[in-house]
Symmetry: D2
Subunit: 339 residues, 4 copies
């Protein structure tokens, strides 16, 4: 049984996911593609033997589409996701679920009214082997109750279009989601402080930033976001508990000794770091859709929470570093007890 997937948005990320669905994992086929650029939709559709459709709505209603993948421009996400819920089809929406908390809430409410989960949001870190090992260690109790998490999220460089608020919205949002899941806890406040800025950035950008989070259970998280660190793409996470700590490994790479140095290569982008996680993410999603089961990945509630928390982080940044309380609605029963 093969899941027929319709893809809304055939840009770079959409094409990469189409490649994943058609060339890497098994159990899925792409049957329909749409894009605001109709020529691009046609070209991509033709490449994989799919049909190009004029609009997202056409695609969602197509009888040849079992499940919908939304990889279009962020501001259009909410409409497509709501349409998919309206027709009761599973929908995988790349982050963000929506660009405003209000729109996220509309999706949550629509899904709640539908009565079962249809939406998965594209936060891939929950599918990374290292984070999963860390989650297992936390669950096992081996390091006791978590108290502190130290994180770093570093990119070698970003383009001029990257503005200061994106440190929260586009970058830290991955840690926000994965930490809520790792700790099974909710983030209750945020503070963003700004160290001396690196000279190696576009002048408008505050980089690096340090984000401080507190959770409902009192765990403190410090996250360095440094998107022009020059040396590589580097993701660090260490959780300190009452009895010990657990730390993400660096990616395995051959060690080389030459010319007085012992070392390994550092990755240069997220594709090398999280490529396997993306494969697992889609593999598990397709398996759930095939089984007619609810998706097991990040929910629309998680998408809402991520938006509220990043909004608070941006507010803190813009206020010059105030502590901002995260103001979140009560969680509907559909989304379980905590995160």
């Amino acid at each position: 049984m093969t899941v027929h997937i319709g893809v809304i948005g055939a840009g770079m990320i959409g094409q990469d996911h189409i490649r994943r669905l058609t060339e890497v994992i098994t159990g899925a086929t792409v049957t329909a593609v749409t894009d605001i650029d109709q020529a691009r939709a046609t070209e991509v559709a033709t490449r994989v033997g799919a049909t190009a459709l004029p609009t997202g709505s056409d695609l969602i209603h197509s009888p040849d589409v079992d499940a919908v993948l939304v990889t279009s421009w962020g501001p259009t996400h909410a409409e497509h996701v709501l349409n998919a819920i309206a027709v009761g089809k599973p929908v995988f929406c790349e982050k963000p679920l929506a660009t405003t908390a209000e729109d996220c809430l509309r999706i949550v409410e629509a899904e709640r009214a539908h009565g079962r989960r249809l939406v998965q949001v594209g936060f891939m870190r929950r599918f990374d082997v290292g984070y999963r090992q860390m989650k297992d260690v936390l669950t096992s109790g081996a390091i006791g109750t978590p108290l502190i998490v130290h994180c770093a999220h570093r990119n070698p460089t970003v383009p001029d279009s990257y503005v200061s608020a994106m440190a929260a919205q586009d970058t830290a949002v991955h840690e926000i989601d994965v930490l809520r899941w790792l700790l099974d806890d909710e983030i209750s406040s945020v503070q963003v402080i700004t160290p001396r800025a690196t000279g190696k950035r576009f002048g408008h950008l505050k980089d690096p930033q340090i984000m401080l989070f507190e959770t409902a259970n009192g765990v403190r998280i410090d996250l360095e976001v440094f998107v022009n660190c020059q040396y590589g793409y580097d993701i660090q996470c260490e959780t300190v508990g009452e009895d010990g700590l657990v730390r993400l490994p660096d990616p395995a790479a051959v060690g080389i000794r030459t010319a007085g140095r012992h070392g390994t290569a550092v990755l240069q982008d997220w594709k090398g770091r999280f490529g396997d996680a993306f494969d697992t993410e889609f593999g598990e999603w397709v398996a759930a859709v095939t089984a007619g089961a609810e998706p097991t990945g990040p929910s629309s509630w998680d998408g809402y929470a991520a938006t509220v928390i990043t909004d608070a982080a941006v507010q803190s940044l813009e206020s010059g570093g105030e502590v901002i309380t995260v103001d979140m609605k009560p969680r509907p029963v559909l989304y379980g007890a905590t995160s």
Copy 2:
């Protein structure tokens, strides 16, 4: 376009490869299964929507089989591979290609007569990310001309059925294949020496063993084979060149600090260590078959070489540690210049 694969041998390894072809990678489907145990063939075939056929020959000749996977009992490999060559179908044969050097040579000769490569032998290490990084480093010249390779191949335990000769035939054979490929060089002599045996083995077994290889270019390889090392499954490889060295990484795993120790888990079997390599191996094979291209993995010549070299290792072991010269036929042009 989906490759139709017929599988000969539905035992544990056969079923694992069927799972891989049907549930992990894309582009292939299993259409036929046979096994000496007809009931098992039927059960496995039913599970994946394939047809159970009475014999390997039936399967190889079936019009619904584009390519053949041989995972039956070792002594039957040669016959199936020769049959597949006779009808011009691509065939992936689990190691060993054949149980005798003579049979391997018959396959090489048949393939040479056919005029192009049809056979790939199931040595998966060439598809492991770490070995591929090491190969890239060697090819780049970063450590200069290779001079020495230090290796270890350790299993936690083996069953009573494992006898001393299997240290070469079943265990070291993986290093033999991957080192010939890494070094782009041929092994010319073997010597097996036996340290004090561990008390934690069945009494009939010489374990550990140290195998010393010399290559045509004068590279010296020492390989510790220790199949009852107790602590885990551990693969080590370090190549020392004129300007430096390169070493396989340990598999990435979260680091844990508790109770006065900093540490990581050691894997317990080859599935965790080489699972991704198996996926890549089959993914690339299916891609080559789909493209109508020659396979890029280990050839029947590599299968022949592995058998001749392991025979020499067993001879050295049984002689009490003599240096045995590897006596290999000239390599046909079909198989390229070196390894």
Copy 3:
């Protein structure tokens, strides 16, 4: 030429330094000892062939004392150091230089009036090989201008007598000194935040604490102080600069693989971690005294700065986490340009 040292305070730390001066390093001898407990002074003095004297003042004025080591109870430090300055003798004072900023300033002023440096304060981390390597890397420019420092200071447990303010005064004070020196920068504000407390502490204690420092140059420092971390004594420090980062190594220790784990032992106290640094500290101090040169280690100004900054940290802790500006006097020329 052997330096004759008089030791004020023959408690545990005093005796350990006496052992260091007499049994480990060369070039010094202990000629006089005093202690509030006269019997202990006599016993310790006898052991090393020194004279027991009734008071610190007697010792400082003794013609058989070239240089003074103050290892008595903290509140007595200022008086002894001022007395030593008054007679122009070099004095090594264990931390703290004095228990109040006012007393520290009196020492600074007395030394300034004397016209050259006589005082060294016992912050030993500047003598640790790892921190010195880090300093060399920073000085070399290899990682560019420093922007952020991440630190952790963990002890397995502390006794009941350890109170919340000591996290700054006794524990973080080491990082405060070494970071001022590493960065060649001054700390300008402090904020202490308190994560969920570990259950494995005495009830009165806030543990762990996270201290956030900002420097005059805008560098941001986060320091986890966790004095009941259970698993070991663990000091971490990572400096992130514009072009890369540099991180303290874990102490070298043999790696062991057994029973499914690869690991190393974690130290259990500061003696193993900083024993060599203490030896170097006293070796370099004795060499400077022998040469008649000013000491090269932490100055009385550094002792003053450490006290002002720890006072600010305690104030932040007690305020519930407010950002406290460090209010430091102008630095006299005697103490150089920055730290």
Copy 4:
């Protein structure tokens, strides 16, 4: 109480040990110096306030010499050590104890006749923290009975005067001594095999070499000696036992991430690697002499054994790789049960 030491041989290594005795460790003073170059003896003696004496014999008989340090040219060692034994003075002899097995045996016999140990031979690795940790692990039984040891001894380069036999005599001799001690076992045979030689050596030199040792208990040791490895000074040792393995750590050094690489510096010579071991070696020797106790370091029997084993290694090298049985006399009771 200060030990008065007379030093025979004031060349580079002699001067370095004099520095150690006078400037680093406590409890010793150098009172007399002699050298074949009388001017050098005078200069060095003057520098440390010692007396320059015309001959080794004068020095050994001087009433102002409690203990003798022999750091002269190798062929003169035996005579000085025998003279020291004749007058019953403790003597520390740099390796080799003597240049022939016969001379070593004469020393062993003289010491045996004297009735207690006076001689310590300058193998410093037994004093290295890493090897001591490994010894503790072996003694604890944590990895079970040792079966195999993998070693590497690499130098960046050697001068033209270094000839092939020195790979055993000057380089591998350190592993030979430390492994006999680590394993508490005797080496019974040696085989030296020669990989392809590096092009980066003087033409007369066989480099690298692989030395294979077997012990009385059947442990197998492989040792790579590579004295022109270019990249650094690198000492590796891993002992594999029935239940696990223990490995020497790399020296601690700050980790640096810049320009796509994560790495640490590799040491360039033995001074950085074994400087602390030398300090400990002399500290413990001086303590034993002070206490009037027998030395605890390598004995004259260990010096003899090292010479016999390196002779066998050279014989194997010159034979083209034959296995050479080590022919050692029975061990006198004075030297304990095994090594």
